[in-house]
């Protein structure tokens, strides 16, 4: 398997759409072939080689793509990613991890809006895998999520987990307005208390489960420690649509 490094040549002046980057397809390509792949941008089409210096190393146990440089203007990184690991060493733009299917994507900075959400008219957002953001994320994170895990180490914007079908989202910091609107199933885990719409979510009740021990052991994040897990409460909803989702947060 190969490990691919994309290093941003200089700050991007236009938005670049990286949704056509497919690690599973790129794993068998040479650096030259990757450089020739074209990416849509707001000022016309560019190639990967125009924006990034590309290097490929073989011998990696799993396919791996490492992106370096500020990627705030790059949207759709990790779209439908399914095998291996994508690591973004800095901030990323909107639609990061959109419709993720498997594998893992790590953002060592902040993410824009629509983290893991569907692009365009797609009815399903993230559908498997792990999406880890060490910083904060923007609005509409986890929209229409069906499977998989999203872990956000900072804060998150408005409309988190809108129309969530299932899966797990963890947020260490604060969350914006309108949390889990239309949530059907799935789990939201907060590291600090959040305000939920009382018409849509049940009152919090103390929560204990052996599953918390599993989560503490296996979680892809380090903020789910016993101090937090031992004092969780759970709210259920969205009751407006007979949803059975659950929101965990620490007791006040």
């Amino acid at each position: 398997m190969s490990q691919i490094h994309l290093r941003l040549r200089s700050e991007l002046s236009a938005k670049v759409d990286a949704a056509s980057i497919r690690l599973d397809e790129w794993a068998s390509k040479s650096a030259k072939e990757i450089e020739r792949v074209s990416l849509p941008s707001s000022t016309g089409s560019v190639t990967v080689g125009d924006c990034f210096s590309v290097s490929v190393q073989s011998g990696s146990e799993m396919p791996r793509l490492v992106l370096e440089g500020c990627l705030k203007s790059v949207t759709g990184i990790g779209f439908q990613h399914k095998v291996g690991e994508i690591v973004c060493e800095s901030n990323v733009g909107d639609y990061a991890g959109s419709c993720l299917l498997g594998g893992r994507m790590i953002v060592r900075g902040d993410a824009g809006d629509h983290l893991g959400g569907p692009i365009g008219s797609r009815g399903v957002g993230m559908n498997g895998g792990q999406l880890i953001v060490e910083g904060s994320a923007g609005d509409d994170a986890g929209h229409r999520m069906r499977r998989g895990e999203i872990w956000i180490g900072g804060d998150v914007g408005d409309q988190l987990a809108g129309w969530m079908v299932a899966g797990t989202i963890g947020v260490k910091g604060d969350a914006g307005e309108q949390i889990a609107y239309g949530m059907r199933r799935g789990t939201l885990i907060f590291g600090s208390r959040v305000a939920l719409d009382e018409r849509r979510f049940s009152k919090p009740i103390p929560f204990r489960s052996a599953y918390l021990g599993l989560l503490e052991r296996g979680a892809a994040t380090n903020w789910l420690h016993a101090d937090l897990l031992d004092r969780l409460e759970v709210c259920r909803g969205d009751r407006n649509i007979d949803g059975r989702g659950e929101v965990w947060m620490p007791r006040g």
């Binding site: 799993m62 594998g103 895998g129 792990q130 998989g148 299932a166 052996a210 599953y211």
Partner: protein
């Protein structure tokens, strides 16, 4: 051959193919865990009448369990995969789901791509949740870069939630490894048996499913009664020494058998070596006369554990394809 002055007979233990699985049972504290495990493994001594042979394999510390709580590993053996698939959900439903604070996990690592034949646990028990059960998949990224999620069920119960893994793989295994302790008195074989079982208790990959690890009702294949396929091993019954063909020496007045089920041939062989050595060390001076084994002339199974080979370091004659 003599071991600590005890005769090791030149014979072999005859064992047969079985299907097996391993479960990890945890609870908030050791007492709930042990009580649930005792119920789960109760009446699991012999496939002759119990459906499965099952017992605690090892005690697990919180660091060794998936959820960080005290636990045990339980091994279960059946003559067919179908029987295992029937018995495990029944026992889990009645003995683990019912016991406060417990959770049940797969003890055979690997998903459907590694072990395509699976024994249902949460897959069956989830319906107890009456629609309130929650399925959670924990994403697991394997070294090849593929995500293989592990599915758990969270079933609401009166102390909170019963957590149970969806299913567990089943593997080929061996049942019926054995050795027979022959002594001058009941006390001599009791001392020998307890020393053997204590030494074998923490060995991985094996169980001794009978009460205290041993049985006095060792059986032979077949019976004069057509309905029975096993009956008392009259060759080792001291009261029949003068009336039937006997394998007991004149001074022997008691014999008990230690039966071992194991995940592999080598694990059973090692456990027999450890058990026999401990028995001879402890009971040679108490009147343990000899150690022999139950073989049925090849009628029972293809796995033969030659007692002498256990101590010679030679190949144990493991048949091709043995687990």
């Amino acid at each position: 051959m003599q071991l600590h002055g005890v005769t090791i007979e030149d014979t072999f233990a005859e064992a047969f193919d079985m299907k097996a699985t391993r479960l990890i049972l945890t609870a908030d504290d050791r007492r709930w865990c042990d009580e649930s495990a005792a119920a789960m493994c109760g009446f699991g001594t012999s496939v002759i009448a119990c459906g499965i042979e099952t017992a605690v394999e090892q005690t697990l510390s919180p660091e060794q369990t998936p959820d960080g709580r005290p636990g045990v590993a339980i091994l279960a053996f059946a003559v067919s995969g179908k029987e295992l698939e029937k018995q495990i959900p029944r026992r889990a439903g009645q003995c683990v789901l019912t016991c406060p604070t417990t959770a049940l996990y797969a003890g055979i690592p690997g998903g459907r791509d590694v072990h395509p034949k699976r024994v249902p646990i949460g897959k069956s028990l989830r319906y107890f949740g009456d629609g309130h059960q929650i399925s959670k998949q924990v994403q697991q990224l394997d070294p090849d870069g593929k995500t293989r999620p592990v599915r758990y069920w969270r079933i609401p119960v009166m102390d909170g939630e019963f957590v149970c893994q969806h299913d567990v793989g089943r593997v080929d295994a061996i049942g019926g490894g054995n050795f027979i302790l022959v002594g001058r008195s009941m006390n001599s074989v009791t001392v020998a048996c307890r020393a053997a079982i204590d030494a074998m208790r923490e060995l991985p990959g094996i169980i001794t499913p009978f009460p205290g690890g041993a049985t006095r009702s060792g059986s032979k294949v077949g019976s004069k009664y057509a309905a029975l396929f096993a009956s008392t091993n009259d060759a080792f019954c001291p009261t029949l020494r003068e009336v039937a063909s006997s394998e007991l020496p004149a001074e022997a007045n008691a014999a008990i058998e230690i039966v071992i089920d194991g995940m592999s041939f080598s694990e059973i062989a090692e456990s027999m070596r450890v058990g026999i050595t401990a028995a001879c060390e402890a009971a040679a001076s108490e009147g343990l006369l000899r150690v022999t084994a139950g073989n049925y002339g090849g009628k029972l199974g293809r796995h033969h554990f030659k007692l002498k080979d256990l101590f010679s370091g030679e190949s144990l004659g493991q048949p091709e394809g043995s687990p």
